[in-house]
């Protein structure tokens, strides 16, 4: 086989490419309009919705509970007659804890299954990966997890807390308890790094000192050094944005280093009831968390939600904030569709402002401008039974402010 022959093959291939490329020139980025989006298929007597959660990989342990919770809401709505007279038909896909897979599955749900809305995603990275897919196709995503803010996509409804509904109240609480210095510990990814930027800006404006800031790779279980640094810093409190398994190692190390909730409390923003079970209450008792919902939150709506969840999935299964936010998302979508009188995405979006739902966490209201929801902030203390009891709440729902525009100290952040 001579090189000469190879060049001819190569030239042939290149010609083909060139020919194909020339016949296939679409719109330029400078063109007006562009993609028109895919319309959902609502012709039958059912309406499809997509469920996009990780059922495999590192995130599965958390995301499966969200999927269960979404299914509970779907079942409830179907039992009550569906949405606009159509039963909801859920289409599940596995995001596999892998961001590009999330994007692929989102595209599949929208363009192949032609779903009316998608519920799911957990990590910020997965949300960032699917965001262009939803914007391109003009389709709706309901995102159920607290996140780092600084985002506002017209095709995403954020039913979890943004920073001013979780992190800022957490800091306010610490300040009210006389905390003058904090140490920041987090997993090395977008949410902790962004959250810590906000915390540092808050600290500067409120006379708090940040005595240190450490990141561990996601899934890391080596916390000897970090805990030693935390201990020798002598901070009044620790702000913890670690995610997943790392919390187990961190809190074990924390206890064995002789630190306690009484001497140096840790405020965590990613530890909910489900995680408490996994970490072990002996390490967590007395530590603080910042969320918008706990299984123990009082109210008839929550009693009903907890009872229904336990009846469906088992008495030992706790309910948590992201699960509740996912459950609320499905009900809010139903209310928006019914107000709009159609499944059409643009109509649903314009109908969204002011929609309320008597959620397990209390009354929530959709803010049509930011597409976030007003939620009550709650600080909780982890008890010996693994449940979290509220020690403080904001009294009324806090209006969402994803870019922290109403906080003068945050002006340099976005």
């Amino acid at each position: 086989m001579s090189l000469f022959r190879g060049r001819r093959i190569l030239a042939g291939a290149m010609t083909l490419v060139a020919a194909a490329a020339m016949t296939a020139c679409g719109s330029k980025t400078t063109d007006e309009g562009g993609a028109t989006g895919v319309t959902a298929d609502v012709s039958g007597d059912t309406v499809k919705v997509g469920l996009l959660n990780s059922l495999s990989g590192t995130m599965a342990i958390s995301e499966v509970t969200v999927r269960d919770s979404i299914m509970l809401a779907v079942d409830e709505i179907n039992a009550a007659g569906g949405v606009l007279g159509k039963k909801i038909q859920p289409v599940g896909e596995d995001g596999a804890s892998d961001w590009p897979t999330f994007a692929e599955k989102a595209e599949k749900l929208i363009s192949e299954d032609r779903v009316a809305a998608v519920f799911g995603c957990w990590t910020s990275a997965s949300r960032k990966a699917v965001k262009p897919v939803f914007e391109k196709n003009k389709a709706l995503l309901f995102y159920p997890v607290q996140y780092e803010g600084l985002e506002q996509s017209p095709y995403i409804f954020y039913t979890g807390a943004t920073t001013n509904q979780q992190i800022v109240p957490g800091l306010d609480y610490l300040k009210s308890q006389g905390v003058k210095s904090v140490y920041l510990v987090g997993s090395d990814y977008v949410f902790p790094r962004t959250a810590n930027k906000i915390i540092k800006a808050y600290a500067t404006a409120n006379g708090m000192t940040v005595l240190g800031e450490d990141y561990a790779p996601l899934g890391s279980t080596e916390f000897g050094t970090i805990v030693n640094k935390v201990k020798s810093s002598g901070a009044d409190a620790v702000f913890n944005t670690l995610n997943g398994d790392s919390n187990v190692a961190f809190f074990k190390e924390y206890k064995s280093a002789g630190l306690s909730a009484a001497a140096m409390p840790v405020v965590s923003v990613s530890i909910a009831e489900e995680e408490v079970k996994g970490i072990g209450t002996q390490y967590l008792e007395g530590q603080l968390t910042a969320w918008n919902y706990y299984q123990t939150t009082p109210g008839a709506a929550n009693s009903k939600f907890v009872a229904a969840y336990k009846a469906k999935y088992g008495a030992d299964k706790p309910t948590s904030d992201p699960m509740e936010a996912a459950y609320v998302g499905v009900h809010l979508w139903k209310a928006m569709v019914e107000k709009a009188g159609a499944f059409d995405v643009e109509k649903v979006r314009s109908a969204s402002d002011g929609i309320t739902f008597d959620a397990p966490e209390g009354l929530v209201t959709v803010d049509g401008k930011t597409q976030h929801i007003a939620k009550t902030a709650r600080i909780g203390k982890i008890g010996a039974d693994g449940l979290i009891t509220e020690v403080w709440n904001s009294g009324k729902p806090v209006a969402p402010d994803p870019y922290l525009k109403t906080y003068p100290w945050a002006s340099g952040l976005s």
Partner: protein
Amino acid sequence: MTAVTPAPPSTVVRPAPAGAVPPNRPAGRSRLRTLAGFAFGAALLFAVAPLVLSDFRLALLAKYLCVAMVAVGIGIAWGRGGMLTLGQGVFFGLGGYAMAMHLKLADAGPGGMPDFMQLYGQLDELPLWWRPFASPWFALPATVLLPMAVAFGLGSLVFRRRVRGAYFAILSQALAAAMVILLIGQQGTTGGTNGLTDITGFFGYDLDDPVNQRMVYFIIAGTLLALLALTRQLIHSRYGELLVAVRDGEERVRFLGYDPASVKLVAYVVAAGMAGLAGALFVPAVGIISPALIGIVPSIEFVIGVAVGGRATLLGPVLGAVAVAWARTALSERFPGTWTYLQGLLFVVVVAFLPGGLASLWALARRRDVAAQPLRRGWLSLGRRRAERTEVPAA
């Protein structure tokens, strides 16, 4: 290896000059068959696939073909060269990030900053080391040359010191892990775990337009065919023979007067270039590049595709990579809860019953059909006979 034509060491790493007759020259009929094979492949990729598949499925095929490009490179480095590289994600990532950063900068416009840098980095201006990527004349060659340069640097150190086998595999894997940690740590300038997403334009063309997505697919399909042609040349050249000889008996080759380190280095660098090109084309096809695509797990997944397809053959890696990626999509769509078990089962079955990979299935069937006739060298089994004669030692 029967016929390594002794040649002066100075010509070792050069491909055979045009017109030279390499050893084990394929017969004329086989050459025709090769051309027919290429024509068939081209027809399949350029005519049949776009007609049969929906826009969504075609975009998925484009993604699989990018993985296949990495696989072709691994086929050279591992299948022919015996270097089990568990870190091809690094080169894929270098190519991908170079391309994605160029597209992000192009989206942002002259003097503009990518959205994530303003969000997470609070930078007022572009960091110095990203600046050249604003120019397509730098960024495009860099997608291939940057991975090749890194591979050259690493390979020179590693192969000269005669690091091989499991030690080389571990080293390549550590590189992938290090790269991921670096990217995540530099969130302000690399996008951290999120990676680079939200890429809207490709050299002025709007990527949201299905017609342009199709164009990207054609470019990818054409590039894959070109890489296959190049690979066929390479493995049938004098150099290709030498590479297999190094794989099967490095010391013997050294005693014959060759320098195995340079022989391996070329294969490693070529494989890195292919991975870089694949990463660069992956970006417009999929619209994202992130650390999740280049770490240890995806690097191993690249190798699994090659193993399933048959590492020592020309088409095996391509078929394997596409088959594994397709099976992943198909299984996870049908059985979202249990697909990982099915995928695992598939690998076990292939490794246990088809150690030569999918490509050996073809050879097996042919052997049954024409048991009486001597084995012919066919399109799919290119190089298989050679591979067969010299059973691949555990890498």
